[in-house]
Structure formats: structure tokens, C-alpha cells
Amino acid sequence: AQSVTQPDIHITVSEGASLELRCNYSYGATPYLFWYVQSPGQGLQLLLKYFSGDTLVQGIKGFEAEFKRSQSSFNLRKPSVHWSDAAEYFCAVAPGRGNEKLTFGTGTRLTIIP
């Protein structure tokens, strides 16, 4: 069974600073990997996904993530955060076939300070 670890429960960064949110997964084969964002009281929004190919994927809102098979990681990055990026971020993994259950990490809450 697949699992996801987000080791950082809460991260605080200054506006304009760079950001990296960590995600490690456990799955026996090549998974499908996702990052979602959830603002307070809002639904889930997909930031980016990795299925195959180029291990550096670009997403919406200036986010990117890098798949590193050797480290079983899929870390999310942004070079310069904006106050509007404050939200909860979830990493998720699914078997690399699709149409099967998506397993979520526990989430990382991002706080932005002026």
C-alpha cells in the first residue's frame, strides 16, 4: 500500500522568500504524484502533477516540483512567495495506473509573514 509523509506540519516564511515543502512517498512502483492546495474554507485545487517524463514539473501560481526516484521524494518549490500563498498544502500519491485511490499526506500549513 502506498503512503505519503509530509514532515513539516507548519512552515512560516517571509513574503518574497523562497519556499520548499517536503514530500516523501512509499510505493513499490512508479506512482502518480500530486500537490494540492486548500485555502481556509475552500476546496482542493490541483497545483501540479507528475505521471512520467521530465522529473521537474511546472504548475500553477509559479509552483514547481521535482520527482526524485532515488529519494522517493516530490518536493514543492516556489522562488518567491506571496501573501496569497498562505494555505494548507497536501502531497498525494496514487498507483501509476490511475483510477485507484489517492493517498494524502498529513498536510503542511504555510504561514506568510510580511
Binding site: 500530486f34 476546496g43 496514487a94 485511490k101 493517498t103 498529513t106
Partner: protein, 112 residues
């Protein structure tokens, strides 16, 4: 990609009662997934609903508490039965579109 209409968007219910949540998809899908998000927590899969067969429940979730119907390839319901305050959560449905997973907007349930 698919669009999911989920309703109700929120409800406040008395303990001991039941609430049925509906998800309508604008295209045919084989699997529908139901998740629960407890306050301040991540999403946990309740069950997977495949049209024409019984839903498959995850450990810790049982059919008597969360009965699911899947009458066709575009519709599913999840019922939260005999509710207690511990059932206060956001419930979401999701489908695989071939390009990723689409989620409904969620049902915010408060049990008083």
C-alpha cells in the same frame, strides 16, 4: 476534465439523524471515491464506489455507517447514518478523469 456537482454544500444536523450527500459527474466514470476531512486533518478515503457492485470500504469505515449507492456511471450518494458530533467533517467525492483526479466542492457537515 470532468466537473462534479456535489450537494449539499453544507448542513447542520441533529445527532442520531442521517444525511445523504450527492455527487453528479458530467461524464461517465467507472470509479467514484468518497473522502472525509475531519477538522484540521488531511483527507482520508472512506470507500470506492464502482457501478454495479458493492462499494469497497477502507479500514475503519463500515457500510452500516456510510452506505453508498452508485446507480449509474455519473451519480453516487454517500449517507452518513446515525450521526454523532464526531462525524462533523467535510465530505468530498472524487473521480479519475484520465488526466488526474477531480474533486467535488465538498459538503461541510456539522452535527449538533
Amino acid at each position: 476534465s470532468a466537473v462534479i456537482s456535489q450537494k449539499p454544500s453544507r448542513d447542520i444536523c441533529q445527532r442520531g439523524t442521517s444525511l445523504t450527500i450527492q455527487c453528479q459527474v458530467d461524464s461517465q466514470v467507472t470509479m467514484m471515491f468518497w473522502y472525509r476531512q475531519q477538522p484540521g486533518q488531511s483527507l482520508t478515503l472512506i470507500a470506492t464506489a464502482n457501478q454495479g457492485s458493492e462499494a469497497t470500504y477502507e479500514s475503519g469505515f463500515v457500510i452500516d455507517k456510510f452506505p453508498i449507492s452508485r446507480p449509474n456511471l455519473t451519480f453516487s450518494t454517500l449517507t452518513v447514518s446515525n450521526m454523532s458530533p464526531e462525524d462533523s467533517s467535510i465530505y468530498l467525492c472524487s473521480v479519475w478523469t484520465g488526466l488526474g483526479y477531480t474533486f467535488g466542492s465538498g459538503t461541510r457537515l456539522t452535527v449538533v
